[in-house]
Symmetry: C2
Subunit: 299 residues, 2 copies
């Protein structure tokens, strides 16, 4: 093994400068001038009760929910409606949840191109809405044939450079989402997503931490978020056993350790619900909001 | 923080077993009765000058190096020699560096079995030497054909349960080592190794954090080690651009952020050199030891 490693050193010594070593110490540093972090909660469109956007936003405002995470599918055609419904409200668009087609680690170049084009259309709409970024999964388990490691990562990063530059031009970002292994083999850990973002060398690529997926793939919410560092742009939250509203799984639904990391990182973005409910939405949603605010105080 | 953790551990006790959630909080918590962590430096056999074990150990003792990391290859036949050379010294065996053949994520069951058998032989010898554990890589890029995710992880964990129980019987552990992507596609992140160790449900499986590999695969040494938590059993260290002695790459060789995590985790094990040198060993080795002790103080 040592011999293998010595050989490896020789071959990589030249490229060592490109390894982004500088970011290692700074990655966990909080932005100097940023305000003290607060818990900015966000809902997806299906989370609040209500038969239309205005009813949903009225409900959210009453509860002090300040973020809205729409789906990316068909978003370009909804920009005006969403802007109208948000006018004069304290709610802002948080992240855009996917909606693209194709995938970036596909063996088939046409599928990769399809993902690039549909993602750009969604990011352009997201930019108009002032979104923090569009959530992207590089490849699901069911999307085959896919490239393997390490080639998949190299091809991904080349495409992300282009998508990141596009995102910056539209005042938004592309947010890489790690999923648990039953959904996606390629990207499962927050640290991995952050290192990919770093290696794209564009501020247009960021990453997401999802408590639900982290429950299976990581041993520490605190460690996972600290490993996302300055690249962390969005958080998804759900109960930890059934992916229902936080609190529906009782004692398992503890997020304090992760919230502590968000405070230390001076995290300025949203914590967004991505979950269903096994109960009455009119009861489980307010209970979840109350629980998360209590746990944020404890963190 | 302590209060949060106590509350958390209480409230999650019920589901901790099934979800591994207990470890989410406790993974970052320091063992209650453990002594204050100190920097316990360890050398591999090739690190110190000297033509035999006694000369090497004499050199190490003069420098206050308290750990020795031998290779696992042929270790069973060297147990007596190593015990003799260590007699009356302050140096203990730290981890055993690999030395097994075959690999645990091989498609070929015979290759997996070969890895199990050779690993057991090495762990038995390591146990006699009081080793903290045997370092294992589940699969290198060059070892093909290998199983793919998520099947590879399932097959790995089944084998690790057996190896972990064997390790416990021999008062040692098996230490999973994440490598950078140019060496191993399967296991690259400390968080991933720790989650695999957790899911084996045996204290015989632990993990390693290697500053050299982390430089490429992670953005934060602090985040990586906090994501290893209580499963962290061994640390490898080298310079960060060329894998030489710490300090040989100048300003890039900053380990303070990682050392801070080891202190917070109350890490009780070794930080072991795995590197060559581009200079005169008689100068670069003592300079590296001095640098690491200074940075440990700063952490």
């Amino acid at each position: 093994m040592n011999t293998n490693r010595r050989d490896f050193i020789k071959t990589t010594a030249v490229t060592a400068g490109m390894m982004g070593i500088g970011s290692i110490a700074s990655a966990c540093a909080a932005p100097a001038a940023a305000p003290k972090p607060e818990l900015k909660l966000s809902f997806q469109e299906s989370t609040p009760p209500g038969s239309n956007l205005n009813e949903k936003f009225d409900y959210m405002e009453k509860m002090g929910i300040v973020g809205f995470e729409p789906g990316g599918n068909g978003l370009a055609g909804r920009v005006n409606d969403i802007q109208q419904a948000l006018r004069g409200r304290k709610i802002k668009v948080s992240a855009i949840c996917a909606g693209f087609s194709g995938w970036l680690i596909a063996e088939d170049e046409a599928k990769r191109r399809e993902c690039m084009e549909t993602s750009k259309e969604i990011m352009a709409a997201g930019g108009e809405l002032g979104s923090t970024g569009m959530i992207l999964v590089p490849g699901f388990n069911g999307q085959q044939p896919s490239l393997q490691m390490p080639q998949a990562r190299e091809v991904l990063i080349e495409q992300l450079k282009e998508l990141g530059d596009f995102a910056v031009k539209h005042n938004t970002t592309l947010i890489l989402e790690p999923l648990n292994r039953s959904e996606a083999w390629f990207l499962r850990l927050v640290a991995d997503a952050a290192a990919i973002a770093r290696d794209t060398e564009t501020p247009g690529i960021t990453c997401l931490g999802d408590f639900w997926h982290m429950t299976r793939e990581e041993i520490s919410d605190y460690g996972a978020f600290m490993s996302g560092g300055k690249y962390l742009r969005h958080i998804h939250i759900a109960s930890r056993e059934r992916r229902k509203m936080p609190g529906e799984d009782g004692a398992a639904d503890n997020y304090v350790d992760g919230f502590r990391a968000l405070k230390e990182l001076n995290y300025q973005y949203y914590v967004s619900f991505e979950c269903g409910t096994a109960g009455n939405r009119e009861e489980t949603v307010p209970a979840a909001v109350k629980l998360l605010r209590e746990q944020w105080k404890k963190a």
